[in-house]
Amino acid sequence: MSELLIAKNVTKAFEGLVAVNKANIVVKENTFTMLIGPNGSGKTTLINCCTGILKPTAGNVYFNGTDITGWKPHQIYGVGFVRSFQIPLPFVGLTVLDNVLGAMRNPGEMPFKATSKRAWIEEEEKNMERAMEILAKVGLSERWDMPSSSLGAAQLKLLEVAKGLSSGAKMIALDEPIGGVDPASAHEILSHVAELKKEGLTFFVVEHRIDIAAPFADYVYAMDLGTIISEGTPDKVLNDPKVIEVYLGKGVGSTCSE
């Protein structure tokens, strides 16, 4: 398994506030790597630095051997690394199907070709078949023609995953894919993700509902106050006294282990 995403000493400071402090992360290919941590620990900021939404103050990000530090999101998309958002950001003026199609490339995106249907219809139909397959995978195929604004919270999260998948990316960063979703739907979303992992995709998932997400994870990083405090297999990290301390408070970890 090669190392797909490497974040080396990534630091992000907003004025004086250091949100991420020298974080080192390695995501291996075809794994479900999880990033956990309490609210405000810098998880989303780290993902934003990796996917180009924010520019890291210091440090480097490598994807598949390429230095992608400070690239724009659409450039990072181009090398096969996409992300979803914590708060789903659907394109509300488009149908579910077009939301997914929007992340696929087509010659009809050039204004000169757009007016002649013949130039892009073939590609569009090909994309459409793939988009429907993806929608079937995340369980949205029956709603393809509905406005995306009519979807519920869990379905919007799934639509975010579908948008990520449609790009044909190697790696997808999911920012709290089950945040604000009821446990049953949360399990469903993660099962869909686990299915997709079997097909060779790599997932980097930010989550703080560790109880639901941990069974799916191969490797876990724990963050607190901008630094990585623990890493390893789920069992190891979840039993790490430092992790228990940040989640439950001082002293709890030590009493448990005694």
């Binding site: 659409h74 998309y77 996409v82 958002f85 199907l97 249907k117 078949e129 429907m132 604004s149």
Partner: protein, 395 residues
């Protein structure tokens, strides 16, 4: 089961009830002019409709589809007007050996040169057509260039700042034209060669029909442009910039394209306006007429809906003309309460904006959320897929 029920919904109508009612209202209003013996007014309405349909459709491309707060529509319109006022006429003057430099923009020379050019254009239908096409081409090229130029500093700004910058650009261009005498005469209007002179007495009717035809062509072009992957990209950026960027779109590039195309079309509208009126005075291009009225038309018709824009322009142009024609017959009583009917048409625009925001915020013909391809086509592709699936052996 529900999937089966869903796919058997009734086929979408080609034209909805709403559109039919609007068309009926428009026809009724137009026939009112005929019955009151003012058929000629209809030509004026169609002229104004054509010009403002072009300008408002271009505004709709930038604002309705791309989400750019285009408060500087007049900038592109005025560029087209200046380009048509200054360049093709000079080229003609150069060809026939008349002064074409700074003198061309001097009223004394201009009023002598332009009739000579007109005579030449009227002598041959191909000269006329060629000159008209040359004007449209010049306007589009300069409009596109100015759209690109404006987009450089402005495109990276956020909504409100972008809107204000564009607004400032609009006024900036007008004042440049007003004070730069050697371009189009500055504060003294100059004449523009008239490619429609060849129709003689029917000149105005022929010109109106040609303008109407061009407006419809532009409508069809924009309809095809926006119902394509390109149009989808525009809507993605309008709905969410960050998400569109994460979906692999170069936001700056796509917004620039939209501004360039929109400005080129708006410039053609401005160019046609000066060709029709036969003269150009920079001060005539006020942001009230060429930015805020198109906004009112677009808001009434439906932001993001090309057909709605056509309806909005038609309806408001008719109402405006009605007020202008009948204001002293119908509204003379208003003088008694201290309102001069002179300004009623301006009141109308303000009232329309307020009423639209209050009662029909999405416009008379709102934008539809529908797949880029027609629904039947999507279904056909899906059915094909279903067939392939069922043909596989069931395990």
């Amino acid at each position: 089961m529900s999937a089966v029920a869903k796919t058997e919904r009734k086929a979408p109508r080609l034209i909805g009830i709403r559109e039919l009612v609007l068309l009926a209202i428009i026809i009724a209003l137009l026939s009112f002019f005929i019955f009151s013996g003012r058929e000629k007014t209809i030509w004026a309405i169609v002229f104004e409709f054509s010009i403002f349909a072009i300008i408002t459709l271009s505004l709709n491309l930038e604002t309705g589809f791309t989400g750019i707060p285009q408060f500087g529509r007049v900038a592109a319109v005025i560029t087209g007007a200046f380009a048509v006022g200054a360049l093709p006429g000079r080229l003609m003057a150069y060809i026939i050996g008349e002064p074409w430099g700074a003198e061309y923009a001097n009223a004394v020379f201009n009023y002598r040169i332009v009739p000579v050019i007109n005579e030449l254009l009227a002598s041959n239908i191909f000269y006329s057509i060629g000159f008209l096409l040359l004007c449209l081409f010049t306007a589009a090229v300069f409009g596109a260039a100015i759209g690109w130029l404006i987009s450089r500093p402005a495109i990276r700004l956020k909504e409100a700042y972008l809107g204000i910058s564009l607004l400032a650009f609009g006024d900036f261009f007008m004042w440049v034209g007003h004070n730069w005498n050697i371009m189009v005469g500055g504060s003294t209007p100059i004449n523009v060669p008239d490619p429609f002179r060849i129709f003689g007495g029917d000149r105005f009717m022929a010109a109106v029909l040609v303008l109407f035809f061009i407006a419809i062509v532009i409508y069809i072009y924009l309809e095809r442009l926006t119902k394509s992957p390109f149009g989808r990209n525009l809507k993605m950026i309008r709905d969410n910039e960050v998400s569109a960027s994460a979906a692999g779109l170069d936001v700056v590039k796509v917004r620039t394209r939209s501004l360039v195309i929109g400005s080129a079309i708006a410039a053609m509208g401005g160019g046609l306006y000066v060709i029709y009126t036969g003269s150009i005075g920079a001060i005539g291009f006020q942001k009230l007429t060429f930015t805020f009225w198109p906004w009112a038309y677009m808001m009434l018709g439906g932001i993001g809906s090309n057909f709605g824009v056509l309806m909005g322009v038609m309806l408001l142009v008719i109402l405006k003309t009605m007020i202008i024609v009948f204001r002293y017959d119908w509204f003379a009583f208003m003088v008694n309460v201290g309102i001069d009917p002179m300004w009623l048409e301006f009141t109308l625009m303000g009232a329309v904006i307020v009423l639209v925001i209050l009662f029909v915020p999405h416009g008379l013909v709102p934008e539809k959320v529908e797949p880029v391809l027609p629904e039947e086509r999507v279904k056909r592709v899906l059915a094909k897929r279903q067939l392939e699936k069922t043909s596989e052996p069931v395990s």
